[in-house]
Symmetry: C2
Subunit: 358 residues, 2 copies
C-alpha cells in the first residue's frame, strides 16, 4: 500500500464522475468534445462541472497529453540595474495574448554565475516550458543557436544576422534611422552626430547602419568624433556629449540609439547651457512616455511595444500548434513622433552669439 495522501478536497474528475454516475473516461471525453458522447450527456457533464467548480488539473493533463502549454521568457541579465521599460510592455502584451489561447507565461531570471542558455536548457529538460520568446537579440546570439537545435517552437523579438530559419518579429531599425536622418536633413541639418549603443546588440547595430547609410546618401560627413558607440547609460551619454561640444566642428544635431540615451544627452546639453531644439537638435528612439515629460519634448521614433508582445505571443502559439509550417518573419516600421527637441539648425550667422534667435 502506498501512502495515504489524503489529497485536499479539490474537485477531481473522479469525484465528478462518481457524482454523475459515469466513468472518468466518459467525463473526460465529454468535456473535451469527443464526437462519441451523446449531446445530452455532454450537457449534463458540463453543467455538473460548472456547478461543482471543476477544473481539470493542468499537471495531470500535461502528463497524460505530453504537451506543455507554457512559454518561457528569460529576463536578460541585468547589465545595469534597471529593467528595460520596453521589455515590461512586451511582457504585458505577451501575457495578454497567451491568456487568449490558454497558454501560460513563465518568467525566469538568470541567477548569478549562470548564463541564459543554461537556464533555458533546464526549463526545457525539466519540461516546464514548451516554447520560448526571446528578446534583446544580439548580432550573433547563442540562445538562438541553442534553440535551433532544441526543436521547440520559439519566436524572437528582433533577429540575428542570419535569421532565415526561425520566426521573428523585428522593428525595421535601419529604416527607422534612415528616416530619422531624413527628417534631420529635411530640417536642414548636415552635421549630425550619433550616440550608439552596444554594437553586439543587433538593434543597436542596425540603427548604426541606418545612420551611416543615410549619412552617405545625403552627403553628410561623419566626421571623426561624430560616431560614439557603447553608450548604454546616462553617464556615458554625458561624456559623449561633452566630447561633441568640444568638437572643432560642432554638430547641429545628435541622433541617439534610444530615448534613454537621448534624455541623457538632452540633460547634458541643458547642463552645458545649450538650448536643445534650437542650438542643437536631438532625436531618440522608443517612444517612451517620459520623452513627453521632459522639456523640450523628445522627438523620437516610436515603436508599439505592447503590440509587439501580443504579436509575438500569437506567433509562438501558432507555431506550437502548426508543426512545420513556414516561419513568420515580420518587419514593423517605427513612426516618427515629432516634439520639440528637433528643429531646423540655428542660422550660421548667429552660431557664435549668446542667445539663440529662432
Amino acid at each position: 500500500m502506498p501512502r495515504a495522501p489524503q489529497r485536499s478536497e479539490t474537485m477531481s474528475i473522479a469525484r465528478l464522475a462518481k457524482h454523475l454516475g459515469l466513468s472518468e473516461g466518459t467525463v473526460s471525453r465529454a468535456l473535451n468534445n469527443y464526437p462519441d458522447i451523446a449531446d445530452k450527456t455532454i450537457a449534463r457533464v458540463r453543467k455538473a462541472a460548472d456547478e461543482l467548480g471543476y477544473r481539470p488539473s493542468t499537471t495531470a493533463r500535461r502528463l497524460a497529453r505530453g504537451v506543455v502549454e507554457t512559454i518561457g521568457f528569460v529576463l536578460p541579465a541585468r547589465h545595469g540595474h534597471q529593467i528595460d521599460p520596453f521589455l515590461a510592455e512586451i511582457l504585458d502584451g505577451l501575457a495578454t495574448e497567451l491568456a487568449l489561447s490558454d497558454w501560460d507565461l513563465l518568467v525566469a531570471a538568470v541567477p548569478e554565475g549562470h548564463d541564459e542558455v543554461e537556464v533555458m536548457d533546464r526549463l526545457i529538460r525539466s519540461g516546464k516550458v514548451g516554447g520560448f520568446v526571446i528578446a534583446r537579440t544580439r548580432r550573433h546570439d547563442p540562445r538562438i543557436d541553442y534553440l535551433r537545435k532544441s526543436h521547440i517552437p520559439f519566436v524572437v523579438q528582433g533577429r540575428t544576422e542570419d535569421c532565415d530559419d526561425y520566426a521573428w518579429l523585428d522593428i525595421d531599425n535601419e529604416k527607422a534611422f534612415i528616416d530619422a536622418m531624413g527628417h534631420l536633413v529635411g530640417l536642414g541639418h548636415r552635421k549630425i552626430a550619433y550616440l550608439g549603443g552596444d554594437p553586439d546588440l543587433n538593434y543597436a547595430w542596425q540603427r548604426r547602419s541606418g545612420y551611416l547609410s543615410a549619412a552617405k546618401t545625403h552627403g553628410c560627413d561623419v566626421l571623426d568624433g561624430y560616431l560614439h558607440d557603447g553608450i548604454t547609460d546616462e553617464m556615458a551619454a554625458r561624456h559623449a556629449v561633452a566630447d561633441l561640444l568640444k568638437h572643432p566642428d560642432r554638430p547641429t544635431a545628435i541622433l541617439c540609439v534610444t530615448d534613454a540615451v537621448a534624455i541623457g544627452a538632452i540633460h547634458a546639453l541643458a547642463h552645458a547651457g545649450i538650448t536643445v531644439g534650437e542650438e542643437i537638435s536631438v532625436i531618440g528612439f522608443d517612444g517612451l512616455p517620459m520623452g513627453e515629460a521632459i522639456h523640450p519634448g523628445l522627438t523620437t521614433m516610436s515603436q508599439a511595444s505592447y503590440q509587439v508582445g501580443r504579436a509575438v505571443g500569437r506567433i509562438v502559439v501558432e507555431q506550437a500548434n502548426a508543426p512545420a509550417s513556414e516561419f513568420s518573419q515580420i518587419l514593423w516600421e517605427a513612426t516618427l513622433t515629432i516634439r520639440g527637441s528637433a528643429n531646423p539648425p540655428a542660422p550660421k550667422l548667429v552660431t557664435n552669439a549668446k542667445g539663440g534667435i529662432s
Copy 2:
C-alpha cells in the same frame, strides 16, 4: 491497448533505471537523498543522471507529490497604457529569488472583460500555481479577501487597511512623506501643496496621510486648493500645477505622490517659466533613474524595488514551506535622495521680481 504515443526521446527515469539495472523507485530515492540507499549507489545514480542529462519531469513530479512550486503574479489591469516601472523591477527581483529555491514565476495578464480575482481563481483551481504575490494593493482589496479564504500561501507587496492576518512587505509610505515634509520644512518651506494619486490605492492614501499629518505637526496650513487627489498621469499633473500657479497664495513647494507625477509637475512648471528648485521646489517618490536625467535632478524618496521583489520572493517560499508559522510583516523605509529640485524658498522680498536670486 492505449495509444502508442511514441514519446519523444527525452531521458526518463525509466530509461535511466534500465540503463543502471536498477528499479525506478530506487533511482528516484537515490536522487532524492533517501537514507535507505547505499552511498555508492547514490553516487552511481548521480553520475549516470548527470552524464545522460536526466532531469525529472516537473509535471510528473508535481502530480506525484501534489505540490506546485510555482508562484503566480497577476499583472495589474493596465489602467493607462504603461506598466509601472516599479513593477518591472519587482518582477525581476522576484524571479531571481524564486530561482534560488527552484520555484517558478508564472505571470498572468487579465483578459479584457475579466477581473483579477477570476484570473487568480482559475490559476489556483487548475493547479497552475501554489502561491501568489500581489502588488498595487488597494486600501480594501478584493484579491486579498479572496486569498484569505483560499488557504494558499501569498505575500503582499504593500498592504490593505486591515492587514494583520497575512504576510506583507510594505514601504513606510506615511513616514516617508512625513520625512519629505520635514525636509521641506527644514529648508524653510511652509506653503506646501500636494499632488496625490488614486486614494483607493493604499500607498497613495498612506502618502497623503503622511503629508497631512506632517503639515499639522509643523503648522503648515493646507489651504484650499493645495491638496489634489487622483493625479495619475502627465495631463492631470499639468492641470493641477496650472491650478496651483493661479492660487492666490501660491505654494513654494509641491510634494508629489510619485516620480512620474513629479516629473509632470516639473515639466508644467518649466513650461510656465517657473524655475524649479528656486521659485518652487518639487519632491517625488520612487527613485526612478529618470529622476536623475531631468533638469533639475529630482529630489525624491527612493525605494529599492528590486530588493523588495527579492524579499517578497523569499517570504512567499518560506511560507509555502513552513505551514502555519507567523506571518512576516515587514516595513521598509524609503531614503531621501537629494538632487536639485528642492531648495530653500526664494526670499520673500523678491517673489515679485522677475529673475530669482539664489
